[in-house]
Symmetry: C2
Subunit: 367 residues, 2 copies
């Protein structure tokens, strides 16, 4: 399996992947050709889907139109991350207002950006906008590409000591001359809103302990399951991918909720034999359309974390985004599924805001 | 599933379980009655086993005799933890001698025992003897039952600062008036030879990070697999039990070695469906004979961490020890299996000695 591909899992995204060679995934000859091992042929029993594909073939509808059209013709409930994230941001806004009125404190998030990567600049800008939208103060430091580790460490130290700052993000990737691990370790544990510190991960793994922060993307996955009333306790859950930022913490979170977990990864033989047993699948590997319909048990709930660019000559950008899961097949088999985009993606930043608020509440002992 | 039952998983054992009400498990009417759901009836195709049972019935052979007798008539290779542990202790002895000759340093292990529990005193005495046998200096502090947290913390602080001490154990359980978590957290991470600190567990869970210490019992399980040439990479491994001290870290260790892991626990429905798929089973739940023969895939490797006392009127102690796995059935199906006792048990203390040596080597930068 390839390394994780996301647009931005909070600060530690593998952002370069947007610029990886694109996968082929286009409509031709009335068939949907994808990176799936065979072209998808739809039986006449799926007239709705055929209509959708035909429409796509003619008009090259945007992914969101495609999603809606399919939802109308399939049994899978669409887990709408966009609207859940909006609701959570509204809740955060209200809570911040309550805290400000009660104790005069406004949460603050500091973001440190080193270098000139356009994608990183975009992510930082999006975070800043998201902070503004809910009433979190954002503090941004931009340093030139050739900055020293020491300069970054000094800013981190300043934010660690600043009572107006409750969360600190170092936007990744850092320039290659920097010692990323040393720099990340310098963020004090009480402000590590990404939740990637080994101490947080250890607490997440241990029964009877609680992490200060849960990493944003896996937290978003579980939040979606909760908000859609998906029962986790006692269910079989399979996580595809074992990255530090999504797969591994997602598995630990599911286990904390009493799921029976299995973790599938690049060394797993016949992964589909394992996924087919799952009541809940969380996929986070960064392989477009890897999870086929026949990998999924009828009625399973599918959370697709992958956001993979595939070539699309008809898109103004030259590509479009698809998940790890072959949506067209999965939505006919799963009972509920997240679309890509509009599923897990919007949840990540909502969880970052949530972690920042939690941090401020904890540091000011506000209930 | 019941809570974990072991004699002593380094310092953090649930030692009280030795004194739990004993399970019934005795030979009567030519049948082996156990806590398994049905009495075990042996088909005539297992004459060797029948002979063994008959012998047991007549003479009440000791568990070790029973084990050897069975091994001769079954296909499962006996994973002999006792002899592996002996070999490891010999290796440690040689390494300590090499270090002493080269830099004049002898590893030191400090053990703090609070209160008068006889079982705890026995474990501490065994650790002391094991240290002596390999050339590790042991430092023991015995405090009365009514000691304050502060007194214990002062000893820990002293050992933290003492360059002759490379590992610190606080024997558990502590008296109920003490704050166990606070006390354990006071042991500095560089001397936490139990490896239970959340920072160590976090590093164990994360790819690209390495823990300073791996918890002794799960480390012993993996060491047995290595020493018996069991291939882990790409294999399906099921861990039964998710405790902080065995199940969870065992699963993390197996995943680090590229196994595809599933974790079965008290909330798992039909656990046998999952275990039957495993190439490797590690059971650590503390339920005598829970894992029956039909839970095991033919040819699987079985590591039985459970050490459960079951009533045995013919034993001088009134009980004998059995594992989580119904050995009589499992040894006919597995390709290799650890006996109880004499399997994982002896490995725990060997790994404690190994961790203490590693700590001394690291603190003195000795390769």
């Amino acid at each position: 399996m390839a390394s994780m591909i996301f647009t931005d899992c909070s600060s530690s995204s593998t952002t370069a992947t947007r610029f990886l060679p694109l996968s082929r995934h286009r409509v031709r000859d009335g068939l949907l050709h994808s990176r799936c091992s065979t072209p998808l042929r739809f039986a006449p029993t799926s007239p709705g889907l055929l209509r959708t594909i035909a429409a796509t073939s003619r008009t090259y509808a945007s992914p969101s139109v495609l999603t809606v059209a399919m939802a109308a013709d399939t049994s899978a409930k669409i887990i709408d991350g966009k609207s859940v994230a909006k609701k959570i941001r509204d809740e955060i806004t209200a809570e911040i207002s309550r805290m400000k009125d009660a104790i005069g404190v406004v949460p603050g998030l500091a973001v440190i950006l080193v270098g000139d990567r356009k994608d990183s600049a975009t992510y930082v800008r999006n975070k800043k906008k998201a902070c503004e939208s809910v009433g979190i103060n954002s503090y941004e430091v931009r340093l030139p590409e050739d900055s020293s580790d020491q300069e970054v460490l000094e800013y981190i130290s300043g934010f660690n000591d600043d009572p107006a700052v409750h969360g600190i993000l170092v936007q990744l990737p850092l320039p290659s001359h920097m010692n990323e691990q040393n720099i990340l370790n310098a963020v004090c544990i009480e402000k590590d809103v990404d939740g990637f510190h080994p101490l947080n991960i250890g607490r997440l793994a241990m029964r009877g302990r609680d992490p200060l922060f849960v990493p944003c993307t896996p937290k978003g996955c579980i939040e979606l399951l909760h908000r859609y009333g998906v029962n986790i306790k006692g269910k079989k859950a399979v996580v595809i991918g074992r990255s530090n930022i999504v797969g591994m913490p997602a598995a630990l979170l599911l286990q904390r909720e009493d799921a029976t977990i299995s973790i599938v990864h690049s060394r797993t033989k016949n992964p589909e034999e394992i996924t087919r047993q799952a009541d809940i699948i969380i996929s986070a590997v960064g392989k477009p359309n890897m999870v086929r319909g026949n990998w999924i048990k009828p009625g399973a709930v599918v959370i697709d974390v992958g956001i993979n660019p595939v070539e699309d000559a008809k898109s103004a950008r030259g590509y479009r985004l698809v998940g790890d899961v072959c949506y067209e097949e999965a939505c006919k088999i799963a009972s509920a599924i997240t679309p890509v985009p509009g599923g897990v993606g919007p949840m990540t930043i909502a969880m970052l805001l949530s972690n920042t608020l939690s941090s401020a509440k904890r540091l000011h002992n506000f209930k």
